[in-house]
Symmetry: C2
Subunit: 149 residues, 2 copies
Amino acid sequence: MDTMEIALQEARRAAARGEVPVGAVVVGPDGAVLARAGNRTEELRDASAHAEMLALREAARRRAGPRLTDCDLVVTLEPCPMCAAAISLFRIRRLIFGAYDPKGGGVEHGARIFAASSCLHRPDVVGGVREVEAGDLLRRFFEDLRQSG
Amino acid sequence: MDTMEIALQEARRAAARGEVPVGAVVVGPDGAVLARAGNRTEELRDASAHAEMLALREAARRRAGPRLTDCDLVVTLEPCPMCAAAISLFRIRRLIFGAYDPKGGGVEHGARIFAASSCLHRPDVVGGVREVEAGDLLRRFFEDLRQSG
């Protein structure tokens, strides 16, 4: 299964738990999945428990080291500024994301974390991968919320 | 004890563990300390285990809710972009920090997280509180590192 499909699966599972549907996967240099996670901010009552943060921390735990210099992060949505800055701190090699997020994103929008001259590590960035599917998941989730609210 | 003194204490303890000496405290509306933490990136092998992140998560756990709208965060160093963005996500009321960090800071420097038009929550910010002590701790730590390295 391609890694964005795994990330989308994690996003769908997050939606089923009532969480904003975002999923993330950390992929090692050999293509193996080191960690996968969906958003758990509600369940963990932790505003920082975004899919990317959980996957990065889990991958570093498995690697027994805080640097993931030969790893890629695949995520269904453009990371927010917190997650983008964490991606830089964990030294991720390449960031691949699905839907662009003009309101909350911090890579191509808003704080544009990797564009700051003080940013010490910039991953390669590939955006818009299967963006329609990733975006539809989010749109449907928020539509359902509005209808039930 | 004033809360910056508690944050400085956490920073000194971090230094004693071989961690970059930064300490943080989350203070509730009644002035009570909800959480206190020092940097643990080395110990936890987690590049995101900055003092602020650990204190915010612990405070939210104790509050059993991800929003800390009536709480203040006191930290010895200007937060990096990841921590600044997390402070916004946790809806911290007021951020009080010690030393300014022109290289790694994300509040008054670099990505300037709270200045982005897409930033949904901006805390009140008070910088430079006991900045000499907080900065000296960091300077001594990195001088010792260079001498032993």
